[in-house]
């Protein structure tokens, strides 16, 4: 089980990395409007504008 010595610290590092990614996404306003995506499927108009 020596692999755990590497894998467990790696997973801890990953947790903090993913947390940082989420922080960036949050600050960019990605989660400010959670109702809109459900309605965006209406906007499937692919005619040229």
């Amino acid at each position: 089980m020596e692999s755990l010595l590497l894998l467990v610290p790696l997973s801890v590092a990953l947790v903090f990395l993913i947390g940082g990614v989420f922080w960036r996404a949050l600050q960019s306003g990605q989660f400010d409007d959670l109702e809109r995506p459900a309605h965006d499927v209406l906007d499937d108009d692919d005619r040229p504008r």
Binding site: M1, L4, L5, V8, P9, S11, V12, V15, I18, G19, F22, W23, L26, Q27, F31, D32, D33, L34, E35, R36, A38, H39, L42, D43, D45, R47, R49
Partner: protein, 770 residues
Amino acid sequence: MTAGCFHCGLPLLEPGRHRAFLLGAERELCCAGCEAVASTIAAGGFERYYEARSADAPSALAVQDADFPEPASPQASLILERITCGACLWLIEQVLRRLPGVTSAHVNFTTQRAQVAWDPSRTSLAKVIAAVRGVGYDACPYEPRRHEARERRERRAELWRLFVAAFGAMQVMMYAFPAYVGEVSLSDMQLMRWAGLVITLPVLAFACRPFFVGARREAANGRLGMDTPIALGLAGGFAASAWATLTATGEVYFDSISMLAFLLLAARFAEGTLRRRAARALDPLLSGISQEDIPVGRILTVAPGQRFPADGVVEGGRSSADESLLTGESHPVPKSAGDRVVGGSVNLEQPLTLRVTHAGADTQAAAIARLAERASATRPRLVEAADRVARVLTPVVIAGAALAWLYSGNPWVAVAVLVVTCPCALALAAPVVLTRAAGQLLASGALLTRSRALEALASVTDVVIDKTGTLTEGRLALKRTYVLGKLGERECLALAASLEASSRHPIARAFAGIDTVPVEARHAVGEGIEARVQGRLVRIGSQDFCGALCSSRRDDSQCSVFLADESGWLAAFELEDQLRLDAKRVIEEMAQAGLAVHLASGDTPEAAGAVAARLGVARWQGGMTPQAKHDYVARLQAEGHVVAMIGDGVNDAPVLARADVSFAMGAGADAAQLKADVVLTGNRLDAILGSFSLSKKAMRVVRQNLGWALAYNAVALPLAAVGWIGPWEAALFMGASSAAVLLNASRPLAGPPPWKASSFSSLSRSPSYS
């Protein structure tokens, strides 16, 4: 969609008159306005709106032109109004994006606000708003206020805490899992314990900060709330686990702690979302009111399509106003010289000149917003009782946890007790329902000034109505003129009108619209008016007042206003108060709903009896003094009835205070000074009916929630104390019970009201957590 108008769903009054070709077929529409809107939608290629929508569109707005001052920078935040479903927002965004000159348009579906930027050389704010109105909605620009930025920061911080806890909990669970399964060497176990510690540390130190801050505040105030047991449980559990990790002995429960933090934060986030949504409901009310200091008495001209920036009296012009935001009344209200307009309502047809009477914080809109906020300061007795239980419960729980620890010798039993009996559900049970109920009542034109009244509303058995200004318009009209002397009817009316011209008494309004000659009138308060016209002294007023002038007496109970000169009686006028249009229907519906309707009037018994007969009210009494009305209500209450009193809110304050719940007609009056539990901002009687049924539903949900929360605690506490529930299950149960309470509270309280075209309709949607 329905047999009515294809666009807005209203009944077709003239079938076949208005049509449009939509979605591949000829469709019937109710009016020219809907026809224009539907044609605009079809011409723009937005017909898919009709396929995607889940509710009928609002009926067309009467005005489309708008004259808005161009802001310094070509961008604006718009509050969107009259939204009925998500497809509306989609439609608005599409329309804005295809408007020539608009460089960017973004609609936030959660807040129902739009951010628009445009090229000032090609379009303007007025054109942007006209485009929104062209498809049947309304928009008004607003200054994003400081509290809005704070709200967004708050929301982001809550989401970030939630994510940290959720992700931490998932990861820590992975490290904990091998220990549950077994077959792990001691060194590997120790490695995973350390990993759990490293990840739980930020969860506890950062994500759980609000609980520790709350607990410290509770300790400082000397009052134990619901944060204290949570903070104790979290800190105690973490300390014990950290000690076990450091010394490589005992058990660790990092997974339980993170999971508990996540569930608690999720409940908090849901509650915060509902709270912010409720707070936003008042924004459109205030957005129209000018923030600048407009001096009282200033004369303003308001163009059609604009909002009145302050309360005022019309000085010139003839138009109508959309007051739906303040009153729930969706029909335009005609306005001409002398009429009051309320700040925040929209001028629809013609320019109006008005004299400002109240500005800024003194306006009716501001008063309504303040009252609505104040309402949440009081709570129904049932909820106060629950709060007291929650306060008593906390020390009991902490003592119970300590005892369980001593008795079992296992600290984890104490943690489980602390967590499982957290009175969160109890604390959440009522506020959410109350906030939503108040919002829906406001949308239908009933402003709840004390949440406490909701409880009484739900159990009303008798309705006592004061006639004047309640069932009637409170506006006297001339019914008949009896000529008594040598002058003809026309001369008498002209004399009467001339004398009354300078009076502001309600009686004077009955003579408005008749040509007058200028006279120098002397007012005798409570008696009448006297003036010298063409050399002779003439009086108008009560029987005694006029009789004193011509030194003769009459005995006439039918008429209330007389005209006489020195030589004798000239005329008697019979005045009548117009019944409200909806009075009969509302009285009938109240009777159908099983409510006993009483009429208690200060008018003469004849007048009261006539009104009672016309409305079909069997229990009536006329000629009542305020004291008699008070005793009447008291007598009903002594017989065990729960009495709702409906009055004008000014003259009958003592009776209103005596009744279990009181309604006052609020339109035109100073809402803040009305001493009533419910102010009918639209003067519409049907709002009363709606408030009875809505309050019944709201109180039922509150009772269900309280019952559930108490039953849950009663069952969970002993189970955790004897060690049957571990900390991990405790957190799950606690979270589930909070979620159950929140979900129950967010069920719709009432179907959408028929006048849902108001912008408050957003409140009647079931909330989604965002």
